[in-house]
Amino acid sequence: QTEKPVSGGTMTIINGSDIKSWDPAITAGTYPGGPMDVLDAVYGFIVYVNDKGVVTGGMAESLASTDAVTWTLKLRKDMKFTDGTPYDAEAVKYNWDRAADPATLSPAQPFISSWNKAITVVDPQTLTIKLSSPNANFAAQVAELCPFIASPPALKAAKEKTDIKPVGAGAFTLTEWNQGISMTMARNPGYWDQPRPYLDTIKFAIIPETNSRIATVVQGGATMMAGYPYQFGSNATAPGVATREIPIRGINRAYLNQAKGIFTDVRAREAFYSAIDRARLMQAFTQMPGYKAPSNYFGENSPYFDSASSLPAYDPKKAQELFDALKADGKPFSIKIVTYTNSDLKRLAAYIQQVLTGYEGASAEIVEVDQASLIQRCKTQLDFDICVEGGVLVSNGAEPNISNLLSSGGAFNWGQYKSAEMDAALKEASSTLDPAAVKAAYVKVQKLVATEMPLYIFGEQTRSLLLRDNTGGVVPSNGGILQKQFLYVCTDVCQK
Amino acid sequence: MNDEASGQAVDTGAATHAFDAFLRDDALLKVRDLSVRYRRGGKIFVAVDGVSFDVAPGETLGLVGESGSGKTTIGRALLKLLPKADTRVDGHVEYDGLNVADLSASDLRAIRSKLQMIFQDPISSFNPRRKVQDIVGEGLEIQGIRKAERLERVDRALNDVGMSRTMVEGRRPHQFSGGQCQRIAIARALAVGPELIVCDEPVASLDVSVQAHVINLLQDIRQKRNLALIFISHDLAVVRNVSDRVAVLYMGRIVEIGTGDAIYQRPAHPYTRMLLEAVPVPDASRKILPSVAPTQASSRSAPPSGCRFRLRCPRAQAICGVQEPKLASMPYGQFAACHFPHDEPAPGMKTVEQA
């Protein structure tokens, strides 16, 4: 960055939907435009994972450990919430204890309750946590699952979840919330990292329709939106706009139901992999050519990438043989694809269906549900063979996503994949701080992924921002959420 | 040609009570104190008010009166055809000794073949979607008469009105002229073998040349079948031609009732006179001298006290506003409801005898 940041100005970030609650304990969606993106502006990440995958200090100075068992959180001095109460170790402990209480209904409750009893407040700026077993990814998990600390009096004052007022110590304070439409926030003058934040005002606008979102940025009606290059088309080169890739790789995946149905048979999973050309599937999905099928969970430029084991490649002959074999065993390959009503996903599902019908003895049925019911349908009711959830899941940082996806009972393991070997390998990877040991463990994981095919990984993508070309200070963290305190308005077009 | 009527002269001598005088015991249809009230937008509107009359078998009773005087309402009340909602019918209608109000649905259906109706607008009294022979046979079909007999009776009825089944076969009403339609309507009424037909302005919508056909036809059939008719019309010339007796209605009440000769030659009620004088007569030898004084019709919903005609009446006096005149016997045999009835012959009325 050669440009010198200046203070002042307003930015509008377009999201696809509004947040549902200000409860810092209830967090979901570490992706740009997700709820955590908005909460970050008010609460600020206590620590965040930067785009290199390194845990970096945010509101706290650091969260670190030498043995992966005892973790020390160092807070900054004299931090205050906007209501004047101190942002200190007690406040942090209060927030985490609250989240560990089942009555709070926090989705991170199982994670936090496994260690919150072991929190020791050393002094107002220091807090130690002694884990029961080593976890090298603890800091990353905190950044993902419980990064937001709200003013304890504000939390106590709220009777119900939805009563919670957003009182944090983050870069901005909420001034107006027009539910479902827009949200306006003003600079928090008491933010610890002066002169940041640079912006006077930050706005979140909600526009559900992708084309309208893009057009709005192009016309200058908003500053930025997150999306994928394929969506931008020629708008990416329109005057006044720029695109910025968020260098965090994610995978497009679908869940294969291994609790019941045809996919309990590994041959069926292999057949499915062989039957479809995943590059072409991605092309159908995005309507852009030039995709390459990912060979495994980690991408080629991931430090953990292992070229030895790779997922089955497109092989229609093999697929047909497997379908026939399955049929011979009395297991005709006829699957139910569950997805939600989004036109890209519909296209994806329709493509799968179209390809499968090309095989003899294979067929697929598509079930569309609305986005809110998808989780219920797939995760709770297990009523699917293959469940496609939109979006990409960040995979280069390994944890916590990899465990969530692949370990038995993992939060994202909708397919109910269960493998003791896999669990052991994952545990091994996260219980050491030695990079070589971690890599070795992940080689095992990749081998298992390639042979057991716990889920359907069909594409890899990075997100991009479509933004006005005078937007500076773009610092992505976690799944691509911008650290908003760094944003500033360039006087002219920003230099790279 | 006025032979049948003479046999039915009203027996005035025996009457002791004026009210009963024009009523008889041997009548086919007895109407006593018939009142009909409509409710319109919360207000009660008396369309027919205490009307009593009789119709003997084979007799024709003409009902005349201005528009809105309640002629149609009376006709429909007799046949129980008034809308059920917002309508109240009081009084007593007796047909052949049966009180029509008390009849069960099936008895009513049986009686409907005896009592029939012909409407003013022949075309609209036919269902445009149905074929003419079905329309004529409908009453019989409802009575459950077998097809063979039905066809035969339809033929007979059509013959009576001077048509034949081949003429109507497969056709719909709108393919016939007004006069033909009215004949078909008559055939429809005749097919069920009625004893009394209520004709509600059956010729009002017809041209003079066609009207004559229909009137003659009705007369012939009446004679042949000994039908009783209630003939509603506002055309006094037509009523004169067809009726044995005439009742003059004014604002829902009978103001004068009696034989045609009496009413037309010696009208007692001033209203009857006014009506008769207003009839345009196709006689160019009489130059008409216009009178200019406009008369004001009284409000129908809030009728004046006493005699309802008094505001328009040239003879009205104080008593007319106080006491309501009752129907009373007049020297020429008719009954009129007037305190100061006329007894001289109607001016300018040429009768056959005088001519």
């Binding site: - | 049948e4 045609g260 007569v281 006689d283 008409i288 200019v292």
Partner: protein, 343 residues
């Protein structure tokens, strides 16, 4: 006819013919209708429904329905209407002629105050100012026998009874002091007593204002005693035209005769058999070549079916009829006139 200084006919029609186009060829509704109305006289036009009465007066007023083709000459007060363009003609007619329509319920605009409807023609044609026009309207209302004329000026049509509405219509037609008042079945929709009042009113007004008048009706009783001349239309043809008295006492055309005897009369006893006219009115779309009445005529001869009888004039020259076998009266011989040479 009345003697007068100015004898230019108020209206003079020469061989007026009208036809509509239809998918089955032209429908001729009027055939060579000729007549004239001297000042201060009343003409009755009678005929059955569909005979073309309304078409005749509408054609004269220039308000015939779209798609009607007209030929023939109409002279109003000596001016040939065909020399005027559409707008001028309408304005001219609006001033010279007043018209009262059949149905008073529909011919007054329910949305416009009656005063306005009465005065608007005078404001356009006579260029009267607001106050003047209002005064005129009130005066007209009073003259047609509306009590409280000044108050009624601001009322809407629905506040009046049918008879009153027809009086208002008459007032409307009188607004420009027309030379001729045309009443097209002006009383058909009214009760007998009201009908009489309206007819009387028309007659009085005609005499007061020295106008001419056309009474269109299908009821022969109405024209009897109220008109000077009478024109009988049948199937679009003039079948008889002459002084009212003569036509009623000595009808010459078979149709007129039949019509008169088909009417029930109050001076006949009950149950008198009426004379009927067999058959039905002519079908305008498929006209027979001969006399339109021939198919129904008891006296029809072969030539009646073959060609239209010429207009014949009676001895006194006033009574005309188109019949080969007219009803004989024993009077002097009739003269057949060359139709083209008529008036």
């Amino acid at each position: 006819m009345t003697e007068a200084a100015n004898t230019t006919p108020v209206l003079d029609c020469h061989e007026l013919s009208c036809h509509f186009r239809s998918p089955f060829g032209p429908i001729r509704v009027l055939h060579d209708v000729s007549f004239s109305i001297p000042p201060r006289t009343t003409l009755g036009i009678v005929g059955e429904s569909g005979a073309g009465k309304s078409m005749l007066v509408k054609t004269i007023m220039g308000i015939a329905p779209e798609g009607m083709k007209t030929s023939g000459r109409i002279l109003a007060d000596g001016t040939d209407l065909s020399t005027l363009n559409e707008t001028k003609r309408r304005a001219f007619l609006g001033r010279k002629f007043g018209m009262v329509f059949q149905n008073p319920m529909t011919s007054l605009n329910p949305f416009v105050r009656v005063g306005r409807q009465i005065e608007e023609a005078s404001r356009f044609h006579l260029r009267l100012g607001k106050a003047q026009a209002k005064a005129l309207a009130i005066e007209l209302l009073a003259s047609v026998g509306i009590p409280d004329a000044a108050e009624c000026y601001g009322h809407y049509p629905h506040q009046f009874s049918g008879g009153m509405k027809q009086r208002i219509m008459i007032a409307t037609a009188l607004a420009c002091q027309p030379d001729l008042l045309i009443a097209d079945e002006a009383t058909t929709a009214l009760d007998v007593t009201v009908q009489k009042e309206i007819l009387d009113l028309l007659q009085v007004i005609q005499q007061q204002r020295q106008m001419s008048m056309i009474l269109v009706t299908h009821n022969l009783g109405i024209v009897a005693g109220r008109t000077d001349d009478i024109l009988v239309l049948y199937g679009g043809h003039v079948v008889e035209y002459g002084p009212t008295n003569t036509v009623f006492s000595h009808p010459r055309h078979r149709y007129t005769e039949a019509l008169l005897s088909a009417m029930p009369r109050m001076d006949q006893p009950a149950h008198t058999k009426l004379h009927t006219i067999p058959g039905r009115p002519p079908d305008l779309a498929n006209p027979a070549p001969g006399c339109p009445f021939a198919p129904r005529c008891p006296a029809a001869e072969a030539r009646c079916h073959a060609s239209m009888p010429p207009m014949t004039t009676s001895a006194d020259g006033k009574h005309r009829f188109a019949c080969y076998v007219p009803v004989q009266t024993g009077d002097a011989a009739d003269t057949a006139v060359e139709r083209r040479a008529l008036s």
